[in-house]
C-alpha cells in the first residue's frame, strides 16, 4: 500500500499557526542585546548638492550614539560591480552616502543611530542641512522626445529585448481590412508591502554578522553585504523566514540593509534600521509608461499586423527594463510586426520589478486594442481570440511546451456566463447602473533557474530539506514540503523544510513566478538522490533482500523500501540506519534545466479573465461586481495556496486599474501621496465575487514536476478586462490607468 499523494491537495499553510498567533517574526522584530535604532534622513530636494550637513546639535542629544553622513561614512567597496545584485539593471548601482550629490527626491543622506527609536527620529529633525539645487526632470510625458534604446546587461538574459521586426508592418497595416490604434498610459506605482523595510544586524564579533533582512533573496543580500563591506561570504548570514509582503520590492537589497550593516560594523553593536511608510516610496517603483499600439486585421478577424511601442521611465544611473511589448506576437501569430521598447532617464530612483512587471503593462494595451478590433470587426471579443489562437509562439517560431489557453477561454466563459452578454455598449442595465462585461487574455513566462537543495534523513526516519529560498507569503514552505513528502513516500509531519537562510544551499531571488519551478524540481531531485542512497545501503544489508533489485524496482513508502512486484518484500529505513550506525544520511544536489533542450520550446502560463462591472451613470463610480480567472499553469501543487496567489493577483489588477497611483508634483520632483491613506489600494468593501479556475494542463517539458508558476498571472489580464468591461458598460474607451470616476464624467 502506498501513501496518498500530497501534491494536488489543498493543504493549509504549515506556518499558519505562527502567523495567526503573532509568533512569526519579521526582520525588524528580533531582539538583541543593547540594540541600537537607526533612523534614516532623506533629501528634500530632487537634484543638486548638499552644501551643509551639520550634525553638531543632534549629536549632543542624550542617547544619540552616532550620525553617519557622506562626510564620515566608513569606507566601502570602490568598484561599481561590487554593489551589483542579482536584479541589478545595466548601469551604475546607487550607493548610499557616497558623496554630497543628490540624484532624486527622498535620497537617503544620513543615518542617526540612537538608543531608542524615538530619540533617533527626533535627532534627525535637528540636523541642519543646506543644498544647492539644480534643474531636474521627473515628468515622463514632457520628456518623451528623450526616449532612447536601453543598454544591455546581465539582466537582459531574463528580460530579452523585443524581437526584431518581421514582414512589413507598415504596408500590412495600411492594407488591413480594419485597424485599431491606441495610446496607453499609467503612472508610478509603489509596491507598498504591509511590512516596512527593516534590517536587524546582530554583531557577532569582528567582521561576523547575523542579519535579519526583509528580502526576497537571502543569498542576494548576503552577497551584497559581503562585497560592499569587504567581508567573507561565510561571515555574513542573512535570515528571512517571514517576509511581510514584497511583490518585487525585496528583489534588490534596499538601503536600510546598507545603513544597518554600516552602523553595526563601525559601532560594533547590534543595530536595527526600519524605514517608515513615506520612506517606502524612496527606493523603487513600477515605472510610469506610455504605450502605442497599431493592430491590423483581415475581414475574417485574423490579426496580420502588430505594432507595439513602450516608453518607460528609468533613472539617470540605471537602465531599468521590463518586458512590455514582447507578448502580443507570443499570443497572436501576425506575420508583420514592429515591436519597440525605449526608456527616458529622469531624476528619480531606478524603477524596480513590481508584481507582473512589464506583462501587466503590455497586456493592458494589447488586450484593449484586441477588444477595439473585435468591435470594429463586429466579432465577439472571445471569438476574436479563438480566431487568432496559436499553438506556437510566432515571435520565436517555437511550439509551446503546453498551452491550455483554449480551455481557459471556454471554461472561464462558461462559468462567467459570457454568452449572456449583449455586445452593444450601454445595452445592459441594473437600476441606475450601467452593466458591462469585459474579457482579456493573460500570459506570463514560465522560467526555471538553477537551485541547490540538501536533504538529510536522521535515524528517526525524519527528513530535513534545506534551501536558502524565501517564502514571501506564496506558500513556498508548504508546497516544498508536499513535494518532498511525495518523493520520499513520507507524511508531511516527517518533513521539515528549512529555508530563508543564506547558509543553506543556493536559491535565486524569489520572483518572476519561477520559484516553484526552480526550487521544486531541486527538492524532488535531492529527495530522489536520498532515496538512491538509502537503496544502495539497503542492497548491502546482510539479509540481502534487495541485492538483485534495481532502483526502478522499488518504491518508498512510510519508512519502507518496498519491491513493486512483491509488496511483501520490504526493508525498513530503521534497518538501514541500524546498519549505518545511526548516522544521518544526506545529499546535496544541483538542479537546473538542460541547457541544450530547454530553449527548444516556448514556455508560458496563460489565463482568460472575465469581468463584470457596474458603473453609476451619474456619479461615474465603478465597481467590479464579479470576475472569473481561468488559469493554465501546469501542475498545481497546492490548490489552496495557488488560488490565493491568483486571487491576490486579481485584486492587484483591480487596484492597478481602479485605485492605485503615486502622484508626482513635477514642480518639486516629489511624490505627493507617500502614505496608505492617499495611496489607495482596495479595502475589503471593494472586493466582491472573485472566482478562480485551474484548467488541467499536463506539461512534461518544463520540469519533472510539470509546474509553471502562479505569482504573476493573476494580475496581467485584469486591467484590460476591467477597462473592456467599462467600455461595454459606458461606450467609453479609457486607456489611462487608474480609471477613476472623473474619467467617466
Amino acid at each position: 500500500m502506498t501513501k496518498l499523494p500530497q501534491i494536488g491537495k489543498p493543504i493549509s499553510r504549515l506556518e499558519g499557526r505562527l502567523k495567526v498567533t503573532g509568533s512569526a517574526k519579521y526582520a525588524g522584530e528580533y531582539e538583541a542585546e543593547d540594540l541600537l535604532y537607526g533612523y534614516v534622513v532623506n533629501s528634500t530636494i530632487t537634484k543638486g548638492k548638499i552644501t551643509v550637513i551639520d550634525t553638531t546639535e543632534a549629536k549632543t542629544l542624550e542617547g544619540v550614539i552616532e550620525i553617519f553622513t557622506h562626510e564620515n561614512k566608513p569606507s566601502t567597496a570602490w568598484f561599481d560591480f561590487q554593489y551589483a545584485d542579482m536584479d541589478a539593471p545595466p548601469g551604475t548601482v546607487f550607493k548610499p552616502l557616497k558623496d554630497n550629490d543628490i540624484k532624486y527626491n527622498g535620497q537617503p543622506i544620513a543615518l542617526v543611530v540612537a538608543a531608542t527609536f524615538e530619540m533617533a527620529r527626533y535627532a534627525a529633525t535637528k540636523i541642519k542641512l543646506a543644498y544647492t539645487e539644480e534643474k531636474f526632470e521627473t515628468n515622463l510625458q514632457s520628456n518623451l522626445h528623450k526616449a532612447r534604446d536601453t543598454k544591455k546587461g546581465l539582466a537582459s538574459m531574463l528580460k530579452p529585448p523585443p524581437p526584431k521586426p518581421t514582414g512589413d508592418f507598415e504596408e500590412a497595416y495600411q492594407n488591413s481590412f480594419v485597424q485599431s490604434s491606441g495610446e496607453f498610459k499609467h503612472g508610478t506605482e509603489h509596491h507598498n508591502p504591509m511590512e516596512m523595510f527593516a534590517t536587524t544586524v546582530i554583531y557577532e564579533g569582528k567582521d561576523q554578522l547575523k542579519i535579519y533582512d526583509k528580502t526576497q533573496g537571502t543569498i542576494n543580500s548576503q552577497m551584497y553585504v559581503a562585497n560592499v563591506f569587504g567581508l567573507k561570504m561565510k561571515n555574513v548570514q542573512v535570515i528571512a523566514p517571514f517576509v511581510g509582503g514584497a511583490f518585487g520590492s525585496g528583489l534588490r537589497p534596499q538601503y536600510q540593509l546598507f545603513m544597518a550593516v554600516m552602523a553595526s560594523l563601525k559601532l560594533k553593536r547590534n543595530v536595527r534600521v526600519t524605514l517608515d511608510r513615506a520612506q517606502m516610496y524612496t527606493f523603487g517603483h513600477r515605472p510610469p509608461t506610455v504605450q502605442f499600439t497599431k493592430f491590423g486585421a483581415e475581414k475574417n478577424g485574423k490579426v496580420n499586423a502588430i505594432y507595439h511601442k513602450a516608453i518607460g521611465e528609468t533613472s539617470q544611473f540605471e537602465d531599468y527594463v521590463e518586458i512590455v511589448v514582447n507578448w502580443a506576437n507570443m499570443l497572436y501569430p501576425a506575420e508583420n510586426t514592429l515591436l519597440e521598447h525605449q526608456v527616458v532617464p529622469l531624476d528619480v530612483y531606478s524603477p524596480l520589478d513590481m508584481r507582473a512587471p512589464g506583462g501587466s503593462t503590455g497586456m493592458h494595451a494589447i488586450e484593449i486594442t484586441m477588444d477595439d478590433l473585435a468591435y470594429k470587426l463586429n466579432i465577439d471579443p472571445l471569438e476574436l481570440r479563438l480566431i487568432n489562437y496559436s499553438e506556437k509562439d510566432k515571435s520565436s517560431d517555437k511550439e509551446y511546451s503546453s498551452k491550455e489557453l483554449r480551455n481557459c477561454y471556454l471554461e472561464g466563459a462558461k462559468k462567467f456566463g459570457w454568452s449572456n452578454r449583449n455586445p452593444e455598449p450601454r445595452s445592459m442595465k441594473r437600476g441606475n447602473k450601467l452593466v458591462g462585461y469585459g474579457m482579456a487574455t493573460g500570459i506570463w513566462d514560465a522560467n526555471r533557474l538553477l537551485a541547490r537543495v540538501q536533504a538529510i534523513m536522521t535515524s528517526d526516519g525524519k527528513v530535513a530539506i534545506k534551501s536558502a529560498v524565501t517564502d514571501i507569503g506564496t506558500g513556498t514552505q508548504t508546497i516544498m514540503t508536499q513535494i518532498a513528502a511525495d518523493e520520499l513516500g513520507l507524511r508531511l509531519e516527517d518533513i521539515t523544510f528549512l529555508y530563508a537562510d543564506s547558509k543553506m544551499p543556493f536559491a535565486p531571488i524569489q520572483g518572476g513566478s519561477f520559484t516553484t519551478a526552480t526550487v521544486g524540481p531541486a527538492v524532488k531531485a535531492a529527495c530522489k538522490a536520498l532515496n538512491e542512497k538509502l537503496f544502495r545501503k539497503a542492497k548491502h544489508l546482510k539479509n540481502a533482500v534487495l541485492s538483485e533489485m534495481k532502483f526502478e524496482d522499488v518504491i518508498f513508502s512510510e519508512g519502507f523500501i518496498i519491491v513493486k512486484n512483491n509488496p511483501e518484500t520490504k526493508i525498513s529505513i530503521a534497518e538501514i540506519f541500524a546498519a549505518n550506525g545511526g548516522k544521518e544520511i544526506k545529499t546535496t544536489n544541483t538542479s537546473m534545466p538542460n541547457p541544450l533542450r530547454y530553449g527548444k520550446k516556448a514556455r508560458a502560463v496563460h489565463s482568460a479573465v472575465f469581468v463584470e462591472v457596474e458603473v453609476d451613470e451619474e456619479l461615474g463610480i465603478i465597481e467590479v461586481k464579479r470576475a472569473v480567472t481561468a488559469v493554465a499553469a501546469g501542475k498545481i501543487i497546492n490548490p489552496k495556496t495557488a488560488e490565493s496567489q491568483i486571487l491576490g493577483g486579481m485584486i492587484w489588477g483591480i487596484s492597478k486599474t481602479l485605485h492605485e497611483e503615486t502622484i508626482t508634483d513635477h514642480n518639486f520632483g516629489k511624490y505627493m501621496n507617500p502614505n496608505l491613506a492617499e495611496y489607495h489600494i482596495p479595502v475589503h468593501a471593494d472586493i466582491q465575487d472573485l472566482n478562480v479556475i485551474f484548467v488541467e494542463e499536463n506539461d512534461t517539458f518544463v520540469n519533472d514536476l510539470g509546474v509553471k508558476g502562479v505569482g504573476e498571472i493573476g494580475v496581467v489580464g485584469m486591467p484590460p478586462a476591467i477597462a473592456n468591461a467599462i467600455f461595454h458598460a459606458t461606450g467609453k474607451r479609457i486607456n489611462d490607468l487608474p480609471i477613476h470616476f472623473d474619467k467617466l464624467l
Binding site: S12, R13, E15, G16, R17, L18, K19, V20, T21, G22, S23, A24, K25, Y26, E29, E31, L61, E62, T116, F117, E118, Y122, N192, P193, M194, E195, M196, F242, V243, G244, G245, A246, F247, D276, R277, I472, G473, T474, G475, K640, T641, E643, S644, Q645, L647, G648, G649, M650, I651, W652, N675, L676, A677, I681, P682, V683, H684, A685, I687, L690
Partner: protein, 161 residues
C-alpha cells in the same frame, strides 16, 4: 521639546501586569513591540491608515499606533498573543488558517483583533456590512476574500464570544 521625564504606568497585557517607566512620546504600539517584545502587533504605517497595529483595549478595537502608552495606564489590553486560549486557537484564528485568510501574514494580527472587536460590537449583520466595518484593515497580498469568508464562518457559526 525634548520630553525627558518618564512616567510610571501599569499596563495589563494579555492578563499580565507590566509596570513600566515610559517617556510620554512613546506610542502604545512601540511599547508593545520594543519594551514588552510583543511583536505580534504590527507596524504598517504608524499613522492609523492600515490597521496592522489593531489591539483590543478594554474589549474595544483601537489603533495602537495612534495611542500614546501613557493614555492607557491601567487598561486591559489584548494583543494577538493573548487571543488564543493557551494551545487552543480562537475560532477566528482557526478560520483564518482554514480559509487561507493571509499570505505574508503581516496584516493578520490586526485583521484578527479587528474581527474579534467588530463581532463584539454587533453592528455588522450582512457580509457587506462586515466588509465595510473591516475596511480599516488593509491587506496588500489580496487575501480579502479569505479574510471575510473566515469572519463570516465564525459569525454564522455563532462561535464568537
Amino acid at each position: 521639546m525634548e520630553p525627558k521625564e518618564t512616567h510610571a504606568i501599569t499596563l495589563n497585557v494579555n492578563d499580565t501586569n507590566y509596570q513600566i517607566q515610559i517617556l510620554p512620546w512613546v506610542s502604545l504600539l512601540d511599547v508593545l513591540r520594543e519594551e514588552l517584545h510583543l511583536t505580534g502587533t504590527k507596524k504598517g504605517c504608524d499613522h492609523g491608515q492600515c490597521g496592522a497595529c489593531t489591539v483590543l483595549v478594554d474589549g474595544k478595537r483601537i489603533l495602537s499606533c495612534l495611542t500614546l502608552a501613557v493614555m492607557k495606564d491601567g487598561s486591559a489590553i489584548t494583543t494577538i498573543e493573548g487571543v488564543a486560549d493557551g494551545e487552543n486557537l480562537h475560532p477566528i484564528q482557526k478560520a483564518f488558517i482554514e480559509h487561507d485568510a493571509f499570505q505574508c501574514g503581516y496584516c493578520t494580527p490586526g485583521q484578527i483583533c479587528s474581527a474579534i472587536g467588530m463581532l463584539k460590537e454587533g453592528k455588522a449583520q450582512t457580509r457587506e456590512e462586515v466588509q465595510e466595518l473591516m475596511s480599516g484593515n488593509l491587506c496588500r497580498c489580496g487575501a480579502n476574500r479569505g479574510i471575510i469568508n473566515a469572519i463570516m464562518e465564525v459569525k454564522e457559526g455563532g462561535c464568537h464570544e
